[in-house]
């Protein structure tokens, strides 16, 4: 699709206004072919998806249509009406919008264009927002949440009526989430206001570009797609796997063994970016590096829980090339270009080939120079995964998660937002919503139920008519019933739900925070983790070892705890499951001894032992091993489908094994395998076909068993909470007060219990189940797996543990089984009391 350079030059003269050509000339550059191609398509009235690697000049390409048009626009004469926004730029990150303002401002100034560029984010002061409403800039750089707010304002039509382009940056990361659903609905709204609106999507390489192409344009007619420009090439990255002189551990995620080797690489390079998968890994690696940092190199830490000020300081230092290394999580994942990074180190397995490509893109963001990256596997399975990821990267494989249908909770939020902006007719809004790709297959009855939900809660018991938030008036229009509704909507807009977290604040040791107001805030930690701490416990956070002093209101007080023995914070968020694509690659590698040659010797030896003692699973088979150990019997399965799917599978299998009389005691799941232990001899049971493994792993487990287990699961409650907040059932914030998670006055768990027993088909429960199936439970992936392995289960009854089983067996007892707070703990505690005080201790 890319054209010859000579052609491009002739092209440029036709497409680009004179000052642009001059500017390119002065810089000694020439416009790239894809930049001109995009410009030509845009000028021809098309919406376009541009897929290009980092460093390909994507941003300039995206803005060229706007800049050239604005350059040719007649100047506004005194007395002419103010013009509205010309171009809207939307990015997933505030920081990215700020970054673009800087990067775009430069050429605009140098070319001498009469173009105003401004950002509008949650950080924009209200006087500036007010002013933007009266005197809009030509180009507004903003986020999906701000767009939702602008649409919900009474002056939305006037504000957007001159809009020509919407530029959507990092589109691949936006479309896979609920933010993407909200944004798609916002775009549909904008298209209604401005029928000729053009969109330009900028994206990294994705597996299914057509999904994004549909996303960019109205789905009326259905299936319509934006034009596509793909820029291939870029220098191949140089990626290696650390071939450690140390022993690679069987299990665990710390990669501590490699610290000296990582440090050596940092010393050898100018600036090293170190990526890890979770915040706790980041904390740990940072500590470990400083422990060996004999040269006191400037090594910094960056993750989403740290205080904003702290993060900005790190980013600034990075931009000034004042740092030698930064340990980071996904907060630095997206396309922000800072400083001269010449090495990316990825600690732990990358979990997905696309993610790996994206992160490596950070190094050396000149497209024509190869990026350099080193993968550090934390354990032996991760060695396999890293190898697979590496092969996949060279194959150019991609594994963006498939797009899912738009959430009904998001739709509810949007409906209320529309009503806050202007009265609407249900028929018109339904038509409009269908043009948004995620909602293209929405049916009318469901839409009507959403409206009903927004109005009165949508309950079968019609008790709330008098409290309706929106009402159908005689003219057939839905209107907000009072201004307070709009005020509340504005405070609660968006789909990002924060896990309840507390500020972490310094105090003097032993003060419990009661006497002093305390010192600096270090960041936020999830409440669930803090609850497991008791006074005097130590943990790692913000690169320090801290002592827990106590909790007061919404703050957690800590003091410095010199010394190094610390509990590591356990974070619920930030752990990605192994991607389907990589899982397949790992299975293929196990099945192909030829490929083991590329693996470090200690790892290939391990696989050979496995082949010797048990068997290695064929690519499409599921290997099940059973063996006795101690006074228990173990079942280990190797589906390689990721932790979430394995957890769900574990829950369901233990229920079934219990019914079959195997007396299961517990299970543990990793990204690669699942282990269940029991009192009964499962190996003997399978041999006697009581039950057979085929029956045990039958797909029907996703029916009643799933339903029964789900109903009480904390997973569903957590999902329900998100849906309740996004849909506006309960508020994230109420005028005049900011609530912490704990203070949401009625617990969503209680609401869930009541709603489930009284109206199990309520639309919000429907939305919750749909979310859970794709999200926390990964049911769809499990379903695919169960159908794949039908008739392909290989059972190996062993006398003892196999080499392949060692890693997961080491996880037993280490991993907390999440959330399911059970009564056995209470029983233990109560028994202790009884032992200490004797029975009947309370009789007086």
């Amino acid at each position: 699709m890319t054209e010859q350079p000579r052609l491009a030059k002739q092209h440029a003269a036709v497409l680009l206004p004179e000052p642009f050509i001059k500017w390119f000339g002065e810089k000694g550059w020439s416009p790239r072919a894809h930049q001109l191609e995009l410009l030509a398509k845009a000028q021809a009235g098309q919406s376009v998806l541009l897929i290009a690697p980092t460093g390909a000049g994507k941003t300039l390409a995206g803005f060229l249509p706007s800049l050239t048009e604005l350059a040719n626009r007649p100047r506004r004469k005194a007395g002419m009406a103010r013009r509205g926004i010309h171009t809207l730029y939307i990015s997933p990150l505030k920081a990215l919008a700020v970054d673009i303002e800087r990067n775009l401002g430069k050429p605009v100034e140098e070319i001498g264009l009469p173009v105003t560029i401004e950002t509008r984010t949650g950080d924009t002061p209200s006087h500036k927002r007010q002013r933007q409403k009266l005197a809009p800039p030509d180009i507004l750089l903003t986020t999906p949440e701000q767009l939702a707010l602008l649409i919900a304002a009474g002056d939305a039509r006037r504000f957007f009526e001159d809009l020509r382009y919407v530029v959507l940056d990092e589109l691949h990361s936006l479309v896979t989430s609920k933010r993407g659903h909200l944004l798609a609905l916002g775009l549909a709204r904008l298209r209604s206001i401005v029928p000729g609106l053009q969109t330009i999507g900028l994206s990294a390489t994705v597996a299914e570009p057509d999904e994004l192409r549909r996303w960019l344009v109205s789905q009326n007619p259905p299936g319509d797609m934006a034009d596509l420009i793909v820029v291939t090439g870029g220098a191949k990255p140089e990626i290696s796997i650390l071939d450690s002189e140390e022993r690679v551990p069987w299990a665990g995620h710390s990669a501590r063994y490699a610290t000296p080797e990582i440090y050596r690489e940092i010393k050898r390079h100018k600036t090293t970016l170190l990526f890890v998968n979770t915040r706790s890994q980041a904390e740990l690696l940072f500590q470990e590096l400083w422990r060996v940092n004999e040269d006191t190199l400037p090594i910094a830490l960056h993750h989403g829980s740290l205080d904003v000020g702290q993060r900005r300081r790190v980013e600034k230092a990075m931009g000034e090339n004042a740092l030698r290394a930064i340990v980071a999580t996904s907060t630095l994942d997206l396309g922000i270009d800072w400083g001269d990074v010449d090495l990316v180190v990825h600690v732990g397995a990358p979990k997905g080939a696309s993610r790996l490509a994206q992160r490596i893109g950070r190094a050396n963001h000149r497209m024509d120079e190869p990026s350099k990256a080193i993968l550090i596997p934390a354990n032996r399975f991760e060695v396999l995964e890293c190898r697979a990821a590496l092969d996949a990267n060279y194959l150019g494989a991609q594994d963006t998660p498939p797009l899912v249908d738009g959430g009904l909770d998001v739709l509810a939020q949007h409906v209320l937002g529309c009503a806050c902006g202007a009265p609407f007719r249900a028929d018109d809004l339904f038509e409009e919503v269908l043009t948004a790709a995620p909602y293209a297959s929405l049916d009318r009855p469901t839409f009507d139920r959403v409206i009903d939900f927004v109005a009165t809660g949508g309950y079968a018991l019609k008790n709330y008519e008098r409290y309706a938030r929106i009402r159908l008036t005689k003219d057939g229009m839905w209107r907000v019933s009072n201004p307070r509704v709009a005020q509340q909507y504005r405070l609660n807009v968006g789909t990002i739900i924060e896990v309840p977290a507390l500020n972490v604040r310094y105090v003097k040791a032993g003060s419990k925070g009661s006497a002093t107001r305390g010192g600096a805030v270090l960041g936020k930690i999830e409440e669930a983790f803090l609850e497991t701490l008791t006074h005097g416990d130590t943990f790692m956070f913000a690169g320090k070892v801290l002592r827990f002093e106590g909790i007061r209101e919404n703050e957690c007080f800590v003091s410095n705890a010199p010394g190094s023995d610390a509990k590591v914070p356990y974070y619920g968020g930030g752990k990605f499951p192994l991607s389907t694509y990589l899982a397949e690659q790992v299975r293929a590698m196990l099945d192909d001894p030829q490929r083991w040659k590329k693996l470090p010797e200690q790892v290939s030896d391990w696989l050979r032992y496995q082949a010797d003692k048990s068997v290695l699973p064929k690519r499409d088979d599921l290997l099940i091993e059973t063996f006795p150990r101690g006074n228990r019997h173990y079942l280990v399965a190797y589906p390689f489908e990721g932790r979430l799917a394995h957890q769900t599978l574990g829950m369901l299998l233990t229920r079934r094994l219990d019914r079959a009389g195997a007396r299961p005691l517990g299970f543990v799941a990793t990204d690669y395998a699942l282990a269940i232990w029991s009192l009964g001899d499962m190996g003997a049971m399978f041999k006697a076909r009581k039950p057979s493994l085929g029956t045990l792993f039958d797909q029907d487990m996703l029916g009643d068993d799933l339903e029964a287990w789900l109903a009480d699961s904390w997973l569903l409650k957590r999902t329900f909470r998100n849906c309740a907040l996004i849909s506006g059932l309960i508020e994230k914030r109420h005028p005049g007060q900011e609530k912490s998670g704990r203070q949401v006055t009625v617990s969503t768990d209680l609401i869930y219990d009541v709603l489930r027993s009284h109206e199990p088909d309520h639309i919000l429960l429907q939305a919750t189940r749909a979310d859970a199936a794709t999200g926390l439970l990964d049911v769809s992936r499990l379903a695919d797996m169960l159908s794949r392995i039908k008739g392909r289960i290989v059972h190996k009854a062993l006398e003892q543990i196999s080499p392949l089983a060692v890693p997961i067996m080491l996880e037993i007892g280490k991993m907390p089984v999440n959330g399911e707070a059970d009564e056995t703990l209470l029983m233990d505690a109560a028994t202790l009391v009884e032992e200490a005080m004797g029975p009947g201790m309370v009789e007086e």
């Binding site: 009165t456 009541v754 007086e844």
Partner: protein, 238 residues
């Protein structure tokens, strides 16, 4: 023993708790029953909390009143008390009784038939509930027991109260369990909230300061089918 066999089967001697010399059952469903008095106490029903929120724009499910009454119906059916004391905050706000759906009102009235029913005034519902039978009192003394909504600041032997919605938390093996609970020290007892939408407050919170004798504080945590008696020294804040 002067209660019927049906009720006797519910009560094992070991489950009885002493409060100022009276014997009581802490039922895991969150009610307190005095077999010798045939008296059932329940606290903080917060009926019509859902509609109270709806008035202010949060349209949470309108089924809380029904859910709470259903559970109340079950315990009353089990114990067949001759006296029921609702220990205040029976309705989430003063208008609650007036907003109650007709079917719920009938359900509640049916429960009241044939027994003495006392509405103790609470801070949410200081006045008698509109158009409902039963006697509204500020506090009620029966034998050595005193029933009132808010625990008094001075330590009173035999005081049964609610208001604070106690819960307790323990940590075992790095994991945390939080449950609603009865909190008592042998002298006074604070009852858990019974309503379907009622939250809870840890017994170690400042709000409880000075209410209990620390040495004898017990939290009777509500399990699915039994009570777990946990001594105060094992409890965690938060």
């Amino acid at each position: 023993m002067n209660f019927s066999l049906a009720r006797a089967s519910l009560i094992a001697e070991a489950d009885l708790v002493g409060i100022a010399g009276e014997r009581a059952v802490c039922d895991p469903r969150g009610v307190l029953y005095f077999p010798d008095l045939r008296l059932l106490a329940v606290s903080d029903l917060h009926l019509e909390k859902g509609s109270s929120f709806a008035r202010r724009g949060a349209l949470i499910p309108p089924y809380d009143t029904g859910a709470t009454l259903l559970r109340l119906q079950a315990v009353i059916a089990d114990y067949q008390p001759s006296i029921v004391i609702s220990l205040g905050d029976s309705f989430h706000d003063g208008g609650g009784a007036g907003r109650m759906h007709q079917s719920f009102r009938e359900q509640l009235e049916a429960l009241m038939v044939g027994r003495d029913w006392f509405w103790v005034a609470g801070n949410h519902d200081p006045d008698a509930p509109a158009d409902l039978p039963g006697e509204t009192v500020r506090e009620l003394a029966i034998g050595s027991l005193l029933f009132r909504h808010e625990p008094s600041k001075v330590r009173l032997e035999g005081e049964i109260s609610g208001h604070l919605h106690p819960c307790a938390r323990i940590v075992q093996q790095g994991r945390s369990v939080r449950r609603r609970c009865f909190a008592g020290d042998g002298g006074r007892m604070i009852m858990p909230a019974f309503g379907a939408y009622t939250g809870s407050l840890n017994v170690l919170d400042r709000a409880y300061a000075g209410l209990f004798r620390h040495e004898t504080l017990m939290a009777y945590m509500l399990g699915a089918a039994r009570i777990f008696a946990i001594s105060g020294s094992m409890l965690r804040p938060g």
